[in-house]
């Protein structure tokens, strides 16, 4: 694979130069970098809100923050992390960067719309930050009515409009991805030769374009009810507060799959690579993504078992919730089987895979407790739920995002980071995460409700453990930020294929040229053909 001419064209990073060339770029890779910088900022903001929550909960009394401030802090933690970090995280960064390359395309189908979606994201996010500066918002990220529509005196309308606007960014990205997968595949890149990361992003895009309009309408209705007293959700003027929950969860439950499906795609790439082996049950992994995306639309009512909704509606939601666990289990078993008789390389990607598997297992399995109706009555709105969804969205989602970021970092930046530091960081994050969130399962079953500013003294020990864990977790994240940034400045230059991976993205230079490929590739092999994969070229290229 020696292609001496490859290095002669400047990479996408340097051609052309200047801030304006970045802010007006139509290159999917540069837009991915713009997104990466933006979501990192929001992750830091959301993380500092989390730090304030954990500091408050060290003692049972509400003594660090006032009740109103605490309520605003947990609201903003949720809003920022979900709408401005988790939802765009993998699709808008790794998906934007690699999905076109993986299918042999020079860009997404609509490069200008891609740039527009980033600008929309920035406008929406800025508007929500404006709500923070104006004094914050205290409804919880769930914006439940009638509290949000008539009772709260905070900046609900501004924050809601921010979420509304950001939704269009999601819709445009999803739309762009779907068209790209349908229309832009290189010759020979059949559907069943596509990397599973592409399948996962395709399934995610379906959820984005079908679900996001509903949340957009819903938050707009809240703004309208606040401004015009419409009577959609306010029971005193003929509205139904529970209607809001139906509309909200119709999007927000599938949104969980927006956060985790791309992560599953990343893990499929990484598992095959660290095992140096074809993925076990390719088509089952691919179709389980679609199954999750589709079935995931029919489970929203499991958030509402105790609202007094009809028992029979509850039954339907409960059984479908149990069904959606099956494709996730199928994926997990297939990843496990992929490692069987592999040639498992103990590079840093392995550590992210193991971390993801451990956390996602716990996150997925604890969903079963909540899907069983009679048990959910006890667990609903307790810390058990908080722990469960953090295991999925942070344990699964963020671990996969970090794994993917580490795996693709050499390709994106052209630089290598320190392998030992990455291994230490992954273990620090894994340990810190478990210490933060595992105690919350216990304190949740004991009955501690979520969103409590103060709590009975018998719950304190678990909260202290949680806060200690959050400190470790924060240190792990900070460490990653530092060595990745350092690698850009001082890291050794990355070779074309540092992991010896299969796929078109590893057959082009690091970092890629603006148009990705010198010539349109012709695909003749299935994905993950590790029998014929090249060995990693890392060591050799250090001298270049």
């Amino acid at each position: 694979m020696k292609e001496a001419d490859v290095q002669q064209e400047p990479s996408y990073l340097g051609a052309p130069y200047g801030l304006a060339s970045w802010l007006l770029t139509k290159d999917h890779k540069r837009i991915a970098i713009l997104y990466l910088i933006s979501i990192t900022i929001f992750f830091a903001i959301g993380g500092s809100f989390a730090a304030m929550i954990r500091a408050e909960l060290v003692t049972p009394q509400g003594d660090f923050l006032t009740a109103d401030l605490y309520n605003k802090v947990f609201t903003l933690h949720g809003v920022v992390m979900i709408f401005f970090f988790l939802i765009p995280s993998i699709p808008a960064t790794l998906g934007n960067f690699f999905m076109p390359i993986m299918i042999g395309a020079k860009d997404l189908a609509f490069p200008r719309i891609n740039l527009l979606s980033w600008y929309i994201y920035v406008v929406g996010a800025t508007l929500t930050l404006a709500a923070v500066i104006m004094g914050g918002v205290d409804t919880g990220w769930t914006f439940y009515t009638p509290y949000s529509s008539i009772s709260s005196t905070t900046n609900v309308t501004t924050a809601a409009l921010g979420v509304f606007i950001t939704g269009f960014s999601s819709i445009l990205t999803g739309f762009n991805f779907i068209v790209t997968v349908h229309r832009m595949r290189a010759p020979g890149m059949t559907w069943f030769r596509m990397p599973l990361f592409v399948w996962a992003n395709y399934a995610t895009s379906l959820v984005m374009i079908l679900g996001t309009p509903v949340i957009a309408i819903t938050v707009l209705l809240i703004a309208a009810e606040r401004a015009l007293h419409l009577g959609v959700f306010d029971p005193r003027i003929g509205g139904d507060p529970v209607l809001f929950q139906h509309l909200f969860w119709f999007y927000s439950h599938p949104a969980v799959y927006i956060m985790i499906l791309p992560g599953m795609g990343v893990i499929s790439e990484l598992v095959a690579n660290v095992s140096r082996k074809q993925i076990f049950g390719y088509s089952f992994v691919a179709f389980s993504s679609l199954a999750i995306a589709i079935i995931g639309f029919l489970v929203w009512g499991h958030h509402m078992f105790v609202t007094g909704q009809s028992i029979y509606a509850g039954l339907v939601f409960s059984i479908i919730t149990m069904l959606v666990a099956v494709p996730s289990a199928v994926k997990t078993f297939n990843w496990t089987a992929t490692m069987y008789k592999g040639a498992v390389v103990w590079d840093s990607p392995l550590f992210w895979v193991l971390g993801f598997m451990g956390l996602f297992l716990i996150g997925g399995l604890t969903g079963l407790f909540l899907g069983a109706m009679g048990l959910d009555i006890h667990l609903h709105d307790t810390y058990f739920v908080v722990a469960h969804f953090h295991y999925i969205m942070v344990g699964g989602g963020v671990m996969a995002f970090l794994g993917g970021l580490h795996f693709y970092w050499p390709k994106m930046t052209g630089r290598m980071y320190s392998e030992p530091l990455a291994k230490v960081a992954s273990m620090l994050v894994f340990f810190g995460f478990n210490l933060t969130f595992f105690p919350q399962f216990i304190v949740g079953y004991m009955g501690m409700p979520r969103r409590y500013h103060s709590y009975p003294a018998e719950f304190q020990v678990f909260n202290v453990l949680s806060t200690a864990g959050a400190t470790v977790l924060g240190a792990g994240y900070l460490m990653i930020l530092l060595y990745l940034v350092y690698s850009i400045v001082k890291g050794p230059k990355a070779p074309m294929n540092p992991w010896g991976a299969t796929g078109l993205e590893w057959k082009i230079q690091s970092p890629p040229i603006t148009h990705n490929f010198h010539e349109t590739p012709v695909v003749t092999e299935e994905a993950y053909d590790y029998l014929h994969a090249p060995a990693p070229t890392r060591e050799v290229t250090h001298h270049e």
Partner: protein, 318 residues
């Protein structure tokens, strides 16, 4: 509390043990799969450790295995579904002989009214061994009445009434939490259930200051608010008679038939135009803002006692 670290909530109701049993079943299944997958992954990581440049075996998949690991989780998930649904049905259907207690949530307190008229705030005294059915209403936003020791919880939704029930089994004091976020002092909207021996409960009731039973108060309101001028004991009023209406099926003038439950009565007072009984004019004004949630519960308690007019049944003396 004891010096040992509590890891589990007290179990103090008839259903608590059943909920815990389902919890431990799912915990066992989960632990099995978590350990199985973790051990396999770690075993493969060590057993099949390879070097750069090596390739794993040429294995693409196995339909048999896919069917097995689709089928087994499916069956287990269905067992959990059925078990959970059965438990939910038990928790949703109060026994017929349950005693009624009214609970009204407002930012940020719980107001409790016993059938005999004793009221309390942020406390709920109940006898053990006797089913208690709570009827819940909210004066402002959504709250949620949660008693972890009993493993029961129910949202308290403005604009409608919800119900929950439990039978306490052990005397003691247990937490009440509001578990649906409701604003500034959400975490201060807590209280205590005091589960007592039945005789202690009777003594407590007798010592409490009663302002008349719920039915008596409802009857008084029924007159004060002039409900009685239209809803007469016989069918001569401008509104339908309410004798025997509770639990009956009502024919509406738009052709629908509805069951007259508590929520129907509530709606008919607050939004009378929503469902108009066949043969009557939509002339009743709304009582929104005129009756509080507590008054509503009293009115409903009174209407529930109105039996079809027969000479023999005169507990209401109308």
């Amino acid at each position: 509390m004891s010096s040992t670290l509590p890891l589990f909530p007290p179990s103090a109701s008839t259903v608590a043990g059943d909920v815990d049993a389902l919890f431990f079943f799912i915990l066992a299944v989960s632990a099995f799969f978590a350990v199985l997958v973790s051990v396999l992954i770690l075993y493969f990581t060590f057993k099949f450790k390879g070097k750069h440049g090596e390739a794993g075996a040429d294995i693409h998949g196995s339909l048999t295995l896919e069917l097995i690991w689709t089928g087994i989780p499916f069956v287990l998930a269905m067992v959990m579904f059925v078990w959970g649904a059965q438990l939910f049905f038990t928790l949703a259907k109060p026994p017929a002989d349950a005693m009624d207690v009214f609970v009204v949530g407002k930012q940020w307190m719980w107001k409790v009214q016993h059938p005999e008229g004793v009221r309390e705030i942020n406390e709920l005294h109940v006898p053990i061994g006797r089913p208690v059915r709570l009827t819940l209403g909210s004066e402002d936003v959504i709250h949620d009445f949660y008693i972890p020791a009993f493993r029961v919880k129910m949202d308290v939704v403005p604009g409608r009434l919800t119900t929950m029930w439990f039978t306490a089994t052990k005397t003691g004091e247990y937490h009440i939490f509001c578990s649906q976020y409701c604003g500034t002092k959400h975490s201060g909207m807590i209280g205590t259930v005091v589960a007592m021996q039945p005789e202690d409960y009777e003594a407590w009731l007798a010592g409490g200051r009663s302002t008349g039973s719920a039915v008596q108060n409802g009857e008084r309101l029924f007159t004060e608010l002039s409900c009685i001028t239209c809803h007469k004991a016989d069918s001569s009023g401008r509104g339908p008679t309410l004798a025997g209406v509770f639990g009956s099926t009502v024919q509406l003038n738009d052709g629908r038939k509805v069951l007259a439950d508590e929520n129907y009565l509530r709606e008919s007072i607050m939004s009378p135009q929503a469902k108009v009984v066949q043969g009557f004019q939509p002339i009743m004004p709304t009582f929104q803002g005129l009756v509080s949630e507590e008054n509503l519960l009293q009115l409903i308690a009174y209407v529930k006692t109105l039996k079809p007019a027969e000479p023999a049944s005169a507990p209401v003396k109308k």
